[in-house]
Structures are given as structure tokens and as C-alpha cells.
Amino acid sequence: MTPLIETRGVSKHYGAFRALDDISIAVRAGEFVSIVGPNGAGKTTLVNLLTGLLVPTNGEVYFKGENIAGVGPVALATRGMARTFQLVQIFPQLTVAETIGAAVVTHQGKQWRLLSPLLADEAISARVAEIAGIFGLEQRLATLSRLLSQGEKKLLDVASAFALQPQVILLDEPTSGVSTAEKHTVMKTLVGAARAAGVDAIILVEHDMDLVASYSHRIIALSEGKVLADLPPDAFFADPAIIETVVGKRRGH
């Protein structure tokens, strides 16, 4: 089966600094793949390459068989890839319904309707209500985003990405800023929502090995811009050398 996302020999250099060096990975439909690694390992650069934001110095990035190097986030959003950010991203002055609505408008291709009333569009409002329901935000539809609690902002950020009805979703540290007690709840909501929304593959970028171990089918470890390991969780955690490199001093936290 053709992978949904694939990189072939991808490198990204900033002058003499090699942020990524000869990375070849693939994510197939149905997979939950985690990307881990210490700070500075190149995770963010890889995410930016996978989402078409950066152009690789060498190599190619394929999404559904198409080379997407540098096509940009807008093109990918309409082709079926969505992402969330480590730092929660909201539209402060938009309500919850409007935030989800912005993505629904994109997905339904209605962004150039200059004179048709948004509120009268039942296809949009129905989809907004559906997505809000999946994330438990249905009571907050009329609330301004900046008045939400931190946890709700996070959910809204992810909900709006899901509203694009993506095939692949890239979650960049979705539980950062969420308390230890809540992180499993948030992850369960996200994974459940992904299933409900019909997402084919999830890519998780995460520091928290506990979460990575609980949800991944496969773990890709980066270290100093190279792929250190690409293994199922059992094999991954069975190798002390890998754990030492990836987790380092974090062990025991």
C-alpha cells in the first residue's frame, strides 16, 4: 500500500547546520506514529517539512503520492492534512462556532461566497455543531475563544483542525500546558475524536514517553537530525540505548 506520507532522503540545512539529514520515513493509513527525540533533534523542522511549510534542501516529501515540498499549509489543508501547534493557537475575537466554522468553510469550499449569509448556511452550522459535539464544546458555541479555559482552548484548537476532515492529523505536543492528571483525558478525547472524524493516520510529536507508549503503533526517534530508531513500542522500549538517548535525564519524571 502506498504510504499516506513519505519522506525520501530528506535533508534540511541552515548554512553549515544540518537540522535534518537524510530522513526517510513513511506513515500508512490506520497508523498512529509518534515522533520523539530530545530538544534540538529536528522534530519541529520535520513537522514543518511534512506540512509543506519548508522546502527541503535535498530529498522529497510525498503526501498521497504527490510531492508537497513547499506547497504551503493552505494547499495541504484542502488536500487533507491538518496540524495543531504546541502553543495553543486560537482566534481571540472569534467565537467557538466561528473558529470551527472557518475550517468548515474551507472544507466545503465556500470561502469566496462574499454575499451569502454565513448564519443561514445550514450545511456549515450542522457540521460546526457536529464537531463541537465530538469535543464537548457544544455548550460553548457562542463563547469568545479568549474567554475559554486553557483546556478548552486546546480542544478548540484541535477541533478546528479536525473540522477540515483531514486524512492525516499532525499533533505537535497536544498535551503541553495540560496538567499531568488531565493529559490522558485530553489524549483520549483526541484519539476518540480522530476515530469519530474518520482520520486515517495520526502523527504525534511528543516529549511525554508515557503517552507515546500508550497510544503509538510505531515510534520514530530522531537524534541530531537523523533517524535513530523506527520501531514498534515493544521493540523501542526494549532497547536501553535508544531510551537513554531519547529520554536522557527525563527518565523518572
Binding site: 481571540p92 472569534l94 469566496w112
Partner: protein
Amino acid sequence: MRRAPSVILIVAAVVALGLVPVLAPPFYANLLVPFYGYAIALLGFNLLFGYGGLLSFGHAMFLGLGAYGAAVIAGVWGIKEFEIVLIGAALAGLVVALPLGWLVVRYTGIFFGMLTLAFGMLTHSVLFKFYHLTGGDSGMRVPRMRLLGLEFAAYNKIELMAGPFYYYCLALMLIAAFLMWRIVHSPFGLHLRSLRDNAQKALYLGVRVHQFRLAAFVISAIYGAIGGAILGFRTGLADPELVYWTHSGHLVFMTVLGGFSSFLGPIIGALALTLLQDQLQSYTQYWRFVLGAILALVVIFLPRGLAGLAADVGSFLSSPRRRPGPVQLPEHSQPGVLGPGLRRDDVA
């Protein structure tokens, strides 16, 4: 709940404006004609600023474009149908704003402001220096035109302005406001507001940031040119002062005074400044000083402008706090966040 009183207020305001030529001396109707020109221009200006987050300091160039367009179409070419002049002005706005916008919407914040200021100054220099084409500092005459094919030969200029042209402009403003209302409440309007709030997040939701900023820029230019054509007809002149940067500042002033975070704010600001300026000029030659002080006070104490003040007064009057019983705050409210200076509210 909020909608019904707003609609009644708007209808009352339109009726009151409609009665001005009947009840007040012609001076006041004549005074309000530029208000309509500014109101239309500012409806467009605020699509860019209030809804798109781009503050232009050169927007007066589009008003100038409309006025000079009227001078060329009616004066030089002799086509004295105001409707054709309006279409011509709108087309001129479109043609100029497309390439200019393509360049400037790549920048935001102060860079966008400075670039638009620079292009405004450039336009002013061109109009000022190309004497043989534009009449230099004496400008170009805008002749009297027909309205809907009617000559109104029995009316002198004041009577025309205070009568038929007054109602013509009122109708034009209502149409412009209705169309703009539809635009800001459309899916396009939602995407525009989303990119204003967070362009990066908007990109990842598939919002075509540059294209939408360009569309808002072009629409605002068309509105500006139509407003400028009205100003040109009213004064009978298109002169370089129209595009000078202080005139762009005037547009910003009116928008901030009225409140850029509400749909009607710019119209309220245009009306308030038109009346205020008239009053101040009759009292003191230092009226600019007083206007400056008022602007400073508005920015400090009424950041949402007169429209925001009106909304606050309205919600205070209908607030449950005035009735006995415990205060009911929304569940997620925080005192600082819900303070009057920060709460956003689309009037109407």
C-alpha cells in the same frame, strides 16, 4: 434579544437623516453630503482595518481617485451621468488597487501602514507636479452632473445638494452599507476575521491569507473611490489635498472616533466628526487642537469608540444589575477580561 432594539434604532436614524432636508435649513443637508461620502469610504476602510486588521495610512488616495475620476469622466470627457461616473470611479479603484494591493498585503502592521503612506504621498506628488494633466495645486473642476438622467435644472447648486443629491447619497450609503453587511457576515468575512486574529492558525485552516487581504484591499478601494466621487461632486473640485496624508489621517480619526470594532462605528464616527468639525470651526481657529485632544481622550477612555460607548450604555440600561437580586456573570467571565474597554461587540 439585542437585535430588535438595534434594528429600531437604525430605522429611526435613517428616518431622521431622511427628514433633515425637510426640517432643517439647507445648510445642514449640505453639510451632511460629505458625511455620506465619508461614510461609504469608511465602510470600505473598516473592512480592511476592523475586519482585516490592516491599517492603511494612505487610503485617501482612493478618495482622490474617485474625485479625479469624476473630474476626468464628467469634466474632460463630458459624460455627465453621475451613475457612469460612479461605475468609472469603482473601476478605477479596482484597477489601481489590484497591483498595489498585490504588493502591499504581503506586509502587515507598521510595514503595511508605512507602505500605504508612501504610495499615498507618491500619488499626491504626481497630482501636484503633473500640472498640465491634473491642474497641480489648483486641481480639476468637477462639473455638475445628472442624477438618474435628470437635470434638476430648476435647482441651484445648494438646492441640488440639499435636495435630490442629498437623498441620492443617502440611498447610496444604504446600499453600500447593506452590501458591506452581507460581506462581513459571509463565509469570506469569517475567513477575513480569522486571519486578522491569527494569520498562522488561519493558514493551517486553509485561509488564503494574501488573497483575502487583497480582496479586502480592492473592495475598500472601490468604496473609497465611490466616496471620493461624492466629495468631488459636492465641492465641484478634485484637488491634491484630497490625497494628502493628513486626509488619510482624517479617515483613521473618524474610524477610531466611531469605533472600528463595530460595523456601524465608522459611520457614527464620520457623522460625529462632520458635525463636530463644523461646530468647532465656528467657535475657534484652534479647532485642530481640540480635535487632537478629543482623539487622544477617545483612544485612552473609549477604545471602542462612540459605538462601543453606545453599546455599553445600552447593555447597562438593559442589564439585570439594575434590578434587585444577585449579579449574574457569565460562567467564564473574569473581571479584567470583561472590562468595558476590551469586550468586543458587533453593534446590531
